[in-house]
């Protein structure tokens, strides 16, 4: 049996669109996907590195602010490319998601598969709830991540003796 797939939703509940990662992860939790571990995180870089170093595959979901259209979904394979610097992950921690991934890369602690979903937020001020375009994006991300997990599980089964 392989190690479980780790799904991490990152965000701050009280920073409007910053909480998108948490909303996505909660929706995924309800779907009870097999062989997955679901974690809510505030984006503490050191904590992320630790979590990433112990799994075979991880999917991170976070909000970003890059000046793009609100609700835009960006997907990155962390092994193919460093995270683009123009994407600013809206963390209250400056040692945050992007930096954690790059530091884990330097320390050779990235998991074999690491996918990052970043959703362009609109409103990061104090408050609760998502803006409408970000909320619309949420459902799409939930579906995409679910597909991602199902494919990975199929792959694992196929490769198993």
């Amino acid at each position: 049996m392989s190690l479980p797939i780790l799904l991490i939703g990152i965000g701050n509940e009280y920073r409007c669109d910053d909480s998108i990662g948490l909303h996505v992860i909660r929706a995924l939790k309800e779907q009870k996907l097999p062989d997955t571990v679901i974690v809510e995180s505030s984006g503490d870089g050191a904590e992320l590195i630790e979590m990433l170093s112990s799994v075979r595959m991880a999917i991170l979901i976070d909000a970003v602010s890059s000046g793009g259209n609100p609700g835009t979904i960006y997907k990155f394979d962390a092994h193919r490319q460093p995270l683009p610097t123009q994407l600013s992950f809206q963390s209250t921690h400056v040692f945050s998601v992007g930096e954690a991934i790059e530091l884990a890369r330097v320390l050779e602690q990235l998991p074999p598969i690491l996918i990052v979903y970043a959703i362009e937020g609109e409103n990061f001020s104090t408050g609760i709830g998502l803006t409408s375009k970000v909320e619309q994006a949420m459902q799409k991300v939930v579906e995409q991540v679910r597909g991602e997990v199902q494919n990975a599980l199929k792959q694992i089964q196929t490769n198993s003796p």
């Binding site: 701050n12 509940e13 009280y14 920073r15 995180s41 505030s42 984006g43 503490d44 870089g45 050191a46 904590e47 590195i49 630790e50 963390s91 209250t92 921690h93 400056v94 040692f95 930096e99 790059e102 530091l103 330097v106 320390l107 990061f124 001020s125 104090t126 408050g127």
Partner: protein, 429 residues
């Protein structure tokens, strides 16, 4: 060029985002503005009308780095309003939880945020290429702090096990015993950290600060004590608002806190150390002295050593608490809400964190006031920048900017507490 303006639009490695503006005229600093952008009072408003039981979990969300501090100031203030005192092992568990948070927060700052400044790296990623083992040690130490918060708080970040009166669930002696090995390793790593930080190059910069911290009759302060300073302040926490005021500053949405009639004051590790050196453990004192520190340190750049000394103390204190721990009969004392006002100060990693609550007889919050450490240090940060830049106006722009950012990071400003995003800018024209 005799006139220039330094403006740094984005300060990396500070919690949140902030802005710094410095104007230099005839080689004299004519203006310094350390700006905080966003209005900060959401949480105080958000707490109004909520039940006292919700307050620890709500305030924990103000900051991802120091949720325990927010919870501790919250529960102590509400307990004061309700006339409750939490003693014995429950009090010890609160100190233990605070040890975990100091370790997490200080280690992050020392290794990931501040050390790169001294060693000439843009960030921890660059530093890790040349010092992978040092960075790994830092991550491992932080993990030990996380383990405490996780075990006691219910999870690593935003602990959920804290309540007014104590905890929802108290750990068994066996639970805590599992931490011992990690913490012993952490204590040794902290000793190495003190030595390592003491060998960094420090600018020669000292100021005549007024340091303010809690002071307890027997302990290095976490949760309790009188508010004292090196310039004669010695008051009960309940008198806080008679002595400290928050002033609105035109260029910043955060409020500047000042000592009435005296102005800027300095809170945080350096203040605690200077006012409580005699309360440190023998090992922490010895390590500080071996690192070249005296019982007073007035160079804010050396705060990185003092943080490391506090990390060492926190590991030792955690081990002491675990060794003497017996599970309490109940995880919390009984609470009977009553109408009233309560306030408390506890020592967040960055300095004193003041909370005041007005509660109804049903335990509903009618009014809340929160003064985070960063808003208290804001004025002294500006003063440091003014004095520091004044002696270095001839430096090339990139170096001066670098040093200004480093000077701000001496305070480990947590702008997400003071407001949210702090954009630090230095601009020259």
């Amino acid at each position: 060029m005799t006139n220039k303006t330094i403006k740094v639009d984005f300060l990396a490695r500070v919690e949140g985002e902030g802005a710094l503006y410095i104007k230099i005229k005839d080689n004299k600093v004519s203006d310094v503005k350390f700006k905080i952008i966003e209005p900060p009072r959401f949480f105080e408003a958000f707490l109004r009308g909520r039940k006292y039981t919700e307050a620890p979990d709500i305030t924990a969300r103000i900051c991802g780095i120091c949720p325990v501090a927010y919870q501790m100031s919250t529960v102590h203030a509400i307990e004061q309003a309700f006339g409750v005192s939490v003693e014995g092992q429950l009090r010890e568990l609160r100190r233990l939880l605070y040890c975990g948070e100091w370790i997490e927060s200080h280690v992050l700052h020392v290794y990931m945020l501040h050390a790169p400044d001294f060693l000439g790296y843009q960030d921890a990623m660059q530093m890790a290429q040349d010092y992978p083992d040092v960075v790994k040690r830092g991550l491992q130490m932080k993990k030990a702090g996380n383990a405490i918060v996780s075990l006691l708080g219910g999870r690593e970040i935003h602990p959920i096990n804290v309540r007014v009166g104590g905890f929802y669930k108290a750990p068994s002696k066996q639970d805590l015993g599992q931490l011992a090995e990690k913490l012993k390793w952490g204590r040794d790593a902290a000793l190495e950290t003190v030595l390592w930080t003491s060998q960094l190059p420090f600018p020669d910069f000292e100021q005549d600060y007024e340091f303010v911290a809690l002071r307890h009759p027997t302990e290095y302060p976490f949760n309790e004590g009188r508010l004292v300073s090196n310039k004669g302040l010695d008051i009960a926490v309940q008198e806080y608002e008679n002595h400290f005021v928050e002033e609105h500053i035109e260029y910043s949405n955060a409020l500047h806190s000042v000592l009435k009639g005296r102005g800027a004051y300095f809170v945080g590790p350096l203040a605690r150390y200077n006012l409580n050196f005699d309360r440190l453990s023998p090992l922490a004192k010895e390590a500080a002295q071996n690192a070249g520190l005296h019982s007073t340190c007035k160079n804010p750049f050396q705060s990185i050593i003092v943080r490391s000394v506090e990390v060492l103390y926190a590991f030792e204190e955690a081990l002491r608490i675990i060794e003497g721990y017996e599970i309490p009969d109940k995880p919390a004392v009984e609470i009977h809400p009553r109408a009233g006002m309560g306030c408390a100060c506890t020592e967040a990693p960055r300095g004193i964190l003041y909370h005041r609550y007005k509660l109804s007889d049903e335990g509903l919050i009618q009014d809340a006031k929160i003064v985070p450490p960063t808003s208290q240090n804001q004025k002294v940060i500006e003063d440091d920048l003014r004095h520091y830049v004044e002696q270095a106006t001839e430096l090339p722009e990139d170096q001066l900017t670098w040093q200004c950012e480093q000077a701000i990071r001496n305070y480990d400003p947590c702008i997400s507490c003071a407001t949210h995003f702090l954009k630090l800018q230095i601009e020259r024209e």
